[in-house]
């Protein structure tokens, strides 16, 4: 059995709360991520679900070393990321990329589409300027985006179009793993479907591995092989997608499933009873 592509063990991210006038003392910690462990085999998708404040985004950033973990190990392609020196980490970054949630904040408004998608290539000095231009055109085509628009600016495009640009940027360096941080939460249903299909196609054709983060359980089901449910910085349940959805073990997972609105009027009434029963499992909001 080959080693999984990504292996996270007992990951903790604690933010100190400082008080004091001149000299800050640390009085307590915000435990954004409090002992999270999971694995993703190559070519598969782990769906990380949770509500706001559960720590799922922080987990993603800590995995990417965009936020330094306070504790724990992140093994990617056989290498321990938490102890890498800066230059080595830079090189590894070529293999892990990220797609963000907000299509309106994830692209620099002062850069053209071409420069945005080309930045990763330029940063790592891949090829010549001409070959990079061709690569950018290819990447845009790959995500269903007309390459003739490379000289336009992000504000000229819709949310869904901008997400495609973000995906193209993430693909530029041929990564092995892509962290998708709520990639469709800000999009309309019909556009959402387009982007989800695109992500699936790319995974199939390029052999990508995904860490897929979302709060929409229905979306996650269609994208994931295994699921991890996060609550208050910890993983409360983890397992193969089907198992978690059909026979959830934790009350929190059950409450979460019962709360998802489903377009079927009959089922909704039954779930309301279930929701009332599970109310104590949730922190009252």
């Amino acid at each position: 059995m080959t080693e999984p592509l990504l292996s996270v063990t007992d990951l903790k991210v604690h933010f100190p709360i400082r008080r004091g006038l001149l000299l800050d003392r640390t009085v307590d910690h915000v435990k954004a991520v409090d002992g999270v462990s999971f694995e993703i085999p190559e070519g598969q998708t782990l769906g990380l679900v949770g509500e706001s404040g559960s720590g799922k985004s922080t987990t993603a950033y800590a995995t990417l070393q965009l936020v330094r973990p306070t504790h724990g190990s992140v093994r990617f392609a056989g290498r321990e990321l938490t102890t890498l020196r800066r230059e080595e980490l830079r090189r590894v970054r070529r293999d892990i990329q990220i797609v963000f949630q907000d299509p309106y904040a994830s692209l620099n408004p002062r850069m053209t589409v071409g420069r945005i998608v080309g930045e990763p290539l330029q940063t790592h000095s891949v090829g010549s300027r001409r070959s990079r231009r061709a690569a950018v055109a290819d990447l845009l085509e790959l995500v269903g985006f007309d390459p003739s628009y490379t000289n336009r600016y992000p504000h000229e495009f819709s949310g869904g179009q901008r997400q495609r640009i973000g995906i193209a940027r993430a693909l530029a360096l041929n990564p092995k793993l892509i962290v998708c941080d709520e990639p469709v939460s800000a999009l309309d249903v019909s556009i959402q479907a387009q982007i989800l299909n695109l992500l699936k196609d790319l995974q199939r054709d390029l052999g990508l591995t995904y860490l897929f983060i979302a709060h929409d359980l229905a979306v996650v089901r269609g994208m994931s092989d295994t699921i991890a449910v996060m609550h208050d910085g910890k993983i409360v349940e983890q397992g193969p997608a089907d198992a978690v959805y059909t026979s959830p073990q934790s009350d929190y997972t059950r409450a979460l499933l019962a709360a998802v609105p489903v377009p079927d009027p009959e089922r909704m009434r039954a779930r309301k009873a279930e929701r009332l029963r599970l109310r104590p499992a949730l922190s009252q909001a």
């Binding site: 965009l66 504000h155 000229e156 390029l206």
Partner: protein, 302 residues
């Protein structure tokens, strides 16, 4: 298999054409033009600058030639602004004075911008303890009175000329700019596109130079027109007190000082340069206001 090798094979729903076609600067320009006060101010400002540059070149009068018979003349055809106590044409001298006043104004503003941006950007970008230290230090500096410090600086430097004035006027005026830039950088840092750049492995100086600073341009342009009045008035004030530009060079401030004694009998000598200062300062304020409305991110389309 690389991403680029299979381009075109992944058939997906086409993303479609851009939904909007315009540049952000064009939108801002159009919004600016809608503000009639700002447009008028802009035109007037430009006219004053042009006058300062051109008038001395085309003028038939030598601004420095002393011609006592012509002294104290009121405005007339050959001397649109009249003459001063030495018979020198005020129209030409005021234009020359404008070169110096506006020159020092822009020079000092540029210096303010450079110092303020450097200080604020480093503080905002690095954050943490350094930011804390730099900001506390800045808090202490805030209390410094700007003009006395300018005078002090001039005294320390010893000589008074164009460049020393630029230095003196900027030495205690960059604090607000630094704070504003720091705030901007800290806000911009939280944007996902900055995180994306880190995730790609972009080096810190590129992040600062490509992702952060260019997005502060709007704020910087406004800051120019907000700082300009202060500096111009500062220079005028210093010159009026006799601490500024020395003769035969003149700035508006020193010209005003020249006219002080003869104020009762010949007010035009002091009024002309004062009016010039006031007009320029007023225009700068209107322009800054117009720019702020034009570049307001809230009205920008996303």
């Amino acid at each position: 298999m690389s991403a680029t090798q299979i381009a075109g094979r992944v058939a997906g729903v086409d993303a479609g054409a851009p939904i909007r076609q315009s540049s952000l600067w064009q939108d801002a320009w159009r919004r600016y033009l809608r503000n009639r006060g700002a447009v008028a101010a802009g035109i007037l400002f430009l006219l004053i600058v042009v006058w300062c540059i051109v008038a001395p070149i085309v003028s038939p009068h030598d601004p420095n030639r002393i011609e006592f018979p012509d002294a104290y003349q009121g405005p007339s055809w050959s001397h649109p602004f009249g003459t001063d106590q030495f018979g020198r044409d005020l129209f030409t001298r005021a234009a020359l004075g404008g070169r110096i006043s506006i020159g020092i104004g822009f020079g000092a503003t540029l210096a303010i911008l450079l110092i303020g941006v450097a200080y604020g950007a480093i503080s905002g970008f690095v954050g943490g303890k350094l930011d804390n230290a730099l900001m506390r230090f800045l808090d202490a500096l805030y209390g410094l009175p700007y003009l006395p410090f300018a005078i002090l600086a001039l005294a320390i430097i010893g000589t008074v000329n164009f460049w020393t004035m630029v230095v003196a006027l900027s030495v205690a005026s960059w604090f607000i700019t630094a704070r504003v830039v720091r705030g901007q950088i800290m806000t911009l840092k939280e944007n996902d596109y900055v995180r994306a750049a880190y995730a790609v492995g972009v080096r810190w100086y590129m992040i600062l130079g490509r992702h952060l600073l260019p997005n502060t341009l709007g704020v910087l342009v406004i800051t120019i027109f907000l700082e300009l009045p202060g500096v111009i008035l500062g220079e005028a004030f210093l010159s009026f007190l006799g601490l500024g530009i020395n003769p035969p060079d003149a700035s508006w401030g020193s010209m005003a000082q020249d006219g002080r004694d003869a104020y009762r009998a010949h007010p035009h000598i002091i009024i002309i340069p004062s009016l010039a200062i006031a007009t320029l300062v007023l225009c700068a304020n209107f322009i800054a206001d117009g720019l702020r409305d034009a570049l307001d991110p809230r009205t920008k389309e996303t």
